[in-house]
Symmetry: C2
Subunit: 237 residues, 2 copies
């Protein structure tokens, strides 16, 4: 891959989607700076996965920003509410917003990405949202991303001074989970390093039955594959 | 003041502007929830002031959210760069963006306000930006605020479900510093409790000569008053 000489901030959770997006940013020639968050989520294993993915894909930098959304309550990912489990993947497409929704999460995450992009003098931010395997998150829709981009270009010193015309890249927005995985495999992403589970074992092993595990399992199954995160040792000892 | 039965999130730095905004929200009948940030700023004294102001004005709640923008560098307020001092207030209106600019600060702060508003089932957020005593911050302009509001209404579960039509209130946006102070005094704001200084003494006393001290000093002077923050003991012992 040839460098285009441009830095980009890539939101990296350590999950399947963001790992794929990081590889896509690299392939498009960007120098990718990966941004993860310690945001009161219960599973530090996500951040271990993010670190391994950043190294594996070849990020130019990786920062973990500390934020704490628990102070506001309101989600299974940040509070002590039970995560729902399913016997099969079909109950995922109900169209309801899951209780694992975190209020304003992408808005908060993109805001930090914007701050870092300005400091790096970068004009490109990558985020792994998908509107196809739509899980009911309003902040994964194209109209939201477009409105964010417009706001961001009015927000910063670099934007006002004409040094920055921020673009939010959403390379997965029209891809199904299976298509995302196929693209990532083409680019050499090692999905065994990624972690998407909402309810891992204390040792960090994915459960295989939460919404997130079911969704990625279905994607691998459509390609005739098994999710390597379910058959490999956990990312933390 | 009569309650309108609605909760509102009010961004509260502990400074003169946000203290005035909190009092305005109360006067308009909102039940105000004050939101402050520990964001790697060097001066904990701001948060002591915020707490005193929240109590004094009668906020329904006050939360301090932890965020750390230092990880990205780039500002005198969050890194080890010298704060500029001035002999008079005239050099403030140069139109240049000051080095005390924090990248994407209001975007980050409003994002947290949005998260809390959704959790509180509130549709109103108050922020003390002013476009008159324009200090060169792009994220204090009306066009920025309008774009943020539009984005926010596409971002949340509550917005999508029609339970929330978020409005960002900017009651100071057309007021000079003197007009802001006059309004606050009408509403009984005790400005001796507020803290705006970029470079206080180790005991928390305002310096009187940084951009922020000069700007508020000029506002009080226009009303024939002296800034009480300069003549009263600091808010921390």
């Amino acid at each position: 891959m040839e460098s285009n000489g441009r830095k980009a901030v890539v939101l990296l959770s350590g999950g399947l989607d963001s790992a794929t997006v990081l590889a896509i940013a690299r392939t498009e020639g960007y120098e990718p700076y990966a941004l993860s968050f310690r945001y009161g989520q219960r599973h530090e294993v996500e951040l271990h996965a993010a670190k391994k993915v950043a190294t594996s894909v070849g990020a130019a930098g990786h920062v973990v920003a500390e934020i704490d959304l628990r102070v506001f309550g309101g989600s299974a990912l940040t509070a002590d509410i039970d995560v729902p489990h399913h016997d099969n993947a079909d109950d995922l497409s109900s169209g309801e917003i899951p209780i694992t929704y975190v209020p304003a999460r992408n808005t908060v995450f993109l805001s930090f990405a914007l701050a870092w992009a300005e400091t790096l003098e970068a004009s490109d931010v990558f985020i792994g949202v998908s509107a196809v395997d739509y899980s009911g998150y309003p902040d994964c829709r194209p109209e939201y991303i477009e409105a964010y981009e417009r706001m961001a270009n009015l927000a910063t010193k670099a934007g006002v001074e004409g040094r920055q015309n921020l673009r939010i890249h959403t390379p997965l927005i029209e891809l199904s989970k299976a298509q995302t995985i196929a693209r990532g495999l083409e680019l050499g992403v090692d999905y065994a390093l990624t972690h998407s589970c909402y309810d891992p074992s204390p040792q960090g092993q994915a459960c295989g039955t939460c919404d997130s595990c079911k969704l990625r399992g279905k994607g691998f199954a459509e390609l005739g594959l098994t999710d390597p995160a379910l058959s490999t040792p956990p990312v933390v000892a």
